[in-house]
Amino acid sequence: MSPDTELEIADAIRSATGPLKIIGGGTRSYTRHVQGDVLSTAAHSGITLYDPGALTLVAKSGTPVAEIEQVLAAQGQMLAFEPMDHRTLLGTKGTPTIGGVVAANVSGPRRISSVGACRDSLLGVRFVDGTGTVIKNGGRVMKNVTGYDLVKLMAGSFGTLGVLTEVSLKVLPLPAAVATVTLPDLPPDQAVAAMSAALGTPFEVTGTWFGPYHHQTPRKLHLRLEGAAASVAYRAQALSKTLDPFGPSQIDTDTDANRALWQGIRDMTHLKDQTFVSRISVPPSNAARFVEDIGQTLNSRMDLDWSGGLIWCSAHENDLADNSQMTANPAHVDPQIKGAQILLDRLQDAAGLDGGHATLLKAPVSMPACALFQPKDPARAKLEAAIRAKFDPRGILNQGLMG
């Protein structure tokens, strides 16, 4: 089903007799194990309002992200939370939609700056809950504390509370210039300390990436600065000087090259040949210890975004096969699957120690369905289940995806 109006989406949900699998463009594959009739928002498309002077854009949920980015760019503006395009990394086809971005709270490298996550740019939503009722929350203005904030709740709810039909977003000016300050070959603890030091300066670093942590490959630390050309040039120099204790750094002020570099980081395209990809969230300062711990015992590659707050742990099929040797049982399982399971378990255990969590983004094709998100503690799980039951009393929306 791909209804093209909110009314029809509501009808489809109200009249559903079994579970529904809710998708946007189907490029992020979070719903890959979800059972049910497919309900896609892709046909419910179009920008309904764009007010550049108020920094706001409203679009129907099925609107392609590319269409929005193009319309914004024509006015020198952007989606500041720079949502990643998952297609290269996951090898998926289709057209990413803005509803999918919001439902998965997809947030790029700029998450580490005061821009924040997708949910921080989300001003309002319209959605259809599990009973087929249309609900709106928030609006199109930047400051709005009228009633409870269900806007944040809907961001990152992966279609389990309702099907988004319209989203209203705060946009920002597109920076005229982008510079990258690069430090070569640091050990993880030094890299995390350097990223933290950079973010503690007033120079408004808007991207921090370190990697890859993998065998003996030389690692790089990239720091991004954005803004007016003269200001970026000044801050790049000042930042480079501040980071002297971590060794010499290079400054690249080629804006086009830097945009390409950071788009690659945003989309994690360099991991496209990996069979296993997981995203791990930990307090940034704990990242160094985390990668050393995992790296010493299991074959994998690690890339750090968000100053270490986001760890991308990935593995090639050969790594997985090696990892499968770690324990003897069960001996009969496919080494790929076994290796992936061992790695995922270790990542979730290690992340859990810090109160963090690991999400499975990509796994061997033959791997049986499993929870993509790390299970939560029972009290928290109960609270979330109670909320889901309110929004979707029949439990038909993306059943089992979030617990």
Binding site: D129, V141, V145, D149, R235, W306, F373
Partner: protein, 478 residues
Amino acid sequence: MQMPDPDRFVISRKDLIVARLQDVLPKGAVISDPAETHAYECDGLTAYRCPPLAAVLPSTTDQVSAVLKICNDMNVPVVPRGAGTSLAGGALPTADCVILGVARMNEVIETNYADRYIRVQSGRTNLSVTGAVEANGFFYAPDPSSQLACAIAGNIAMNSGGAHCLKYGVTTNNLLGVTMVMMDGTVVDLGGPYLDAGGLDLLGVICGSEGQLGVVTEATLRILPKPEGARPVLMGFDSAEAAGACVSDIIKAGVLPVAIEYMDRPCIEVCEAFAKAGYPMCEALLIVEVEGADPEIDAQLALITRIAKAHDPVEIREAQTADEAARIWLGRKSAFGAMGRVNDYMCLDGTIPVSELPYVLRRIGEMSKDYGLAVGNVFHAGDGNMHPLILFNANEDGQLEKCEALGAEILKLCVEVGGCLTGEHGVGIEKRDLMGVQYDPADMSAQMNIKDVFDPKWLLNAAKVFPLKTSAAHRGKP
């Protein structure tokens, strides 16, 4: 303003309730003498008052949990209270309620400069959060006008903003985690020092839930490195249209000032008489502040000035010294105080799309004439968060009602043009009965369903936010 009838049975059990609360709290933390509970009879919305049954001042999360458990068991309504600065009546008691004040919980628990956060007890004042980290070059961004007095607990309850939201966002964008006690005494931790906390974003719902879902006792807040410098420019215009168009053009040009503040003639006159900041007498005044190193500030202000000149300003004054900068801000920062000196006033805080500014100001002017009550406008223009100040005489019969009626009309106008009832003060009781203007019953039902999960008996601050008729079924008072 209608409030639910107090529960006579609860009131009749006052002595027992107080005794049980005294059992779990330190000496002096339970206030039940009517002579003393008067101190808690209202918050910043002083038009409405009602002394509570009792007030408690716990010092720890465990004590808060014990208090709530007792109140939940005995069906006693609870009204959480930060510093009591709410302008919306968010902490207004009922005669059968226990006020739970967090004023004694004001410690810094942890500062972490590597991950840029601070963890505080929720009774700590907003300004003293910055105070705890500024020696290390950091600050806490949300800066409501009441920041000297207001508590983080209240900031979280109302999702408070301030003057610098255009760049740094409001409380919810700077809140990383909370420790919260639910009505049944259960303590939950939501979020933490993570950039992606996982699961449903319950933290996002807690922030701005006006103390109806739980009592936040500890908060993890994002702190930011202080900018190298900041400098304001003051610009006067002959019309609201010119000033409004200037704001829009600045934003469209790709500059992102940290603040764009607006004052109209009535406000300029009163502020000037009070603060003597040297403001030009004109129809509309903008204060635009930018940040960075000196050359960066120069470049941004040059661009802003160039844009402003296209709108025929009557005056442009760039601060040359720190003293001049302080003088530019002085009038704006003393606006509410200056207004209060000459009149009683009611301060609204509806938000509108910035592009609707000239139309909305013109309509407010017309309404002001119709009602015969003067309205001054001072607000955060960059994000469209208005603050119309309706002047009235509280001692004259019927003036408060007239003022409230005009306020309601103005807020309806805000919603009509695509905005909302409240941008940063919260709904409380003040805007409770206007919720239907912005939200349909189904929209409110979805919100109330959340309260059902966190507080099934509807004991926490239950008479606020939702019109009493709308919430009656949820409150079990059909």
